[in-house]
């Protein structure tokens, strides 16, 4: 038996891990990341001559839970057409048996890498609002993300904000505009040709079934960003308020992480109250919809009172001063001038 040197082992590992793209329209460019389920590669779509990202499963299997999850992720993402959600172009099985899907290649940085370039609190809040827009859209379509965290948000080079990795998504209602009849047919009619010529196996579970078929009773998510009910594995209790918990944790991260402009580590009380309400341990104490959360953040940005925080008179005056600083200073300057003139006349 041939002895394989360390160098040969490395070469074999590298060569064998690369996805087999023969028979597809994609040309491999390189690896860009690795997630829990698989590897993300940059590739060129040779037909359309554009760069795409390919998410490829680690293991060549088309009929197990992981393959189903990846395909569900692709389907959920494909049906959520929103500027804040990365569009899926194609999905199927490669010649080496690995399930993959192709999506838009988002040039930019993950939020946790990008955060240092966001110097001010308002800049960070504006990013947060755009994340909320995408999540609110998904909720309106009956989809929970269930894994919102800085690593799953990309900020593009032109400031676009994209929520990634819908692998743990849960469908609450069939509001995706799917035709249940068609989904059923897809599960019984055998493999279907996808655009690239590869096949989607017949036994992939339709996206509308995710709520029953994924992660029943299993704890999936990211500690620190996962709601208590999700951490306890109470899958049946998950609703939009679970994502709101994650958004609250994300907001706290945005407001406290590497913010050079802020000398104090304490948040403004209204922001602290917003975070606390979003991250309340009891679901009933949280915002009931993402829109409520975004309204509070937007009100803070506009210098208005936020619903999550009852202001004292002093806080009210301080906020009014900040909001109407120009007019307050103008009036103060006018009054000062009047006083000075009166004093001057008296002398």
């Amino acid at each position: 038996m041939r002895y394989l040197s360390d160098k040969a082992l490395t070469r074999l590992r590298n060569a064998a891990e690369l996805p087999e793209l023969s028979g597809t329209r994609y040309r491999l460019i390189g690896q860009v990341g690795r997630g829990g389920m698989g590897v993300v590669y940059a590739a060129e779509d040779q037909r359309l001559q554009r760069r795409v990202a390919l998410k490829v499963l680690d293991v060549p299997s088309s009929d197990d839970e992981l393959a189903n999850r990846l395909m569900r992720e692709a389907r959920v993402q494909a049906r959520l057409e929103h500027p804040g959600i990365v569009p899926v172009h194609d999905a199927g099985i490669l010649a080496d048996g690995r399930v993959f899907y192709a999506m838009k290649f988002v040039e930019g940085q993950r939020l946790d890498q990008h955060i240092e370039s966001l110097a001010s609190t308002p800049d960070r809040l504006r990013i947060f609002l755009r994340i909320c827009d995408a999540v609110a859209f998904a909720h309106a379509r009956g989809v929970l993300h269930r894994d919102l965290k800085p690593g799953n948000v990309m900020v593009g080079s032109f400031g676009e904000v994209v929520v990634m990795d819908w692998g743990l998504a849960k469908i609450l209602t069939d509001a995706l505009g799917t035709d249940p009849g068609r989904s059923d047919a897809a599960t019984t009619a055998g493999p279907t040709n996808c655009e690239s010529g590869s096949l989607i196996p017949a036994n992939f579970i339709p996206a509308t079934m995710i709520s029953v078929t994924t992660a029943d009773g299993k704890v999936m998510g990211t500690p620190g960003y996962m709601s208590p009910e999700q951490a306890r594995g109470e899958i049946d209790l998950l609703d939009v308020r679970s994502d709101i918990f994650s958004l609250g944790a994300l907001l706290r991260y945005l407001l406290s992480e590497k913010l050079p402009a802020r000398s104090s580590t304490r948040l403004d009380r209204p922001l602290e109250a917003i975070c606390a309400k979003a991250c309340a341990p009891a679901r009933a104490a949280r915002y009931s919809a993402v829109q409520e959360l975004t309204e509070d953040v937007a009100r803070y940005l506009n210098g208005l009172a936020v619903g999550a925080h009852r202001e004292s008179i002093f806080e009210n005056l301080t906020r009014l001063y900040r909001r109407y600083r120009f007019f307050v200073l103008l009036i103060a300057a006018y009054l000062l001038m009047r006083v000075l003139l009166i004093v001057a006349f008296k002398h």
Binding site: L12, A15, D96
Partner: protein, 252 residues
């Protein structure tokens, strides 16, 4: 070269060769023996080298211990106690090796061993040569973590070596010797100066043929290695984790 020449390839290996863990617990002695043969084939070299390094045993002593360990595995049905939900098979086996070597003074028992695995002709001379030719610094491999890494690396080497031999056989059977030669020159010999163009010139074929042949050989190699890996894993979950350990690497 026709594209379909490099497709298919399931004649020798069925699509799914399921775990030997279940087979080794089988009542059927033939099935159990086959499963043990597969385990020994994959693990004997890592075990031998590990005993040489970790326990600093002489070559004859390590040979005896390796043979003895696999006999003990059979005799005491060690694999029946393995729980795939709690850890990896290779970690379990390594700990069993440690435990076995610590009890090695029971030499009389070792004398009595043999049985179903005696037929395995283990190439200890070859393993010893590999062990001595490897640039292993015993002092640098002192911590439990580095020993675990060493064992994993030797296990991957063993798995890949077996997969390469399988690939060689498949190529010979299907008259794809050139594909194997290209794979051997480019991927196994690892000369940094070699390129697809140079290979094409050397074998007087088109660069596209080199590309296709290498893509096919790598795909087959990966498939064979994963099939072999699947056999020595106790569960789907372990298989996934081990697949990542074997093929995975982080983005640079």
């Amino acid at each position: 070269m026709a594209q379909d020449e490099f497709t298919g390839g399931n004649e020798r290996f069925p699509a799914t060769r399921w775990s030997v863990i279940a087979a080794v617990r089988s009542e059927d002695t033939v099935e159990r023996k086959r499963a043990l043969d597969i385990l020994c084939e994959t693990y004997w070299k890592p075990v031998y080298k590990y005993v040489r390094l970790r326990w600093n045993r002489s070559a004859p002593d390590a040979q005896d211990l390796t043979q003895g360990f696999f006999a003990e595995m059979l005799e005491r049905e060690l694999l029946n106690r393995f729980d795939a939900g709690k850890g990896r098979l290779r970690t379990y086996l390594r700990l069993c090796v440690d435990s076995f070597v610590m009890n090695e003074e029971k030499a009389a028992r070792r004398q009595k061993r043999g049985g179903e695995i005696q037929h395995l002709a283990l190439d200890f001379a070859g393993a010893e040569e590999e062990f001595l030719s490897g640039t292993i610094d015993a002092a640098a491999i002192a911590s439990p973590e580095s020993l675990e890494e060493f064992f994993e690396k030797e296990w991957v080497r063993s798995l890949f070596s077996l997969a390469v031999e399988d690939l060689r056989t498949i190529c010979a059977e299907r008259q794809r010797d050139r594909a194997f030669q290209l794979f051997e020159t480019y991927d196994l010999e690892g000369d940094d100066k070699i390129s697809y163009e140079k290979l094409a010139q050397q074998y007087r074929i088109a660069v596209s043929e080199v590309t296709n042949a290498l893509a096919w050989a790598r795909r087959e190699f990966r498939r064979i290695a994963l099939e072999r890996l699947r056999e020595v894993c106790g569960s789907d979950d372990e298989f996934r984790r081990e697949s990542k350990a074997v093929f995975g690497r982080d983005a640079e």
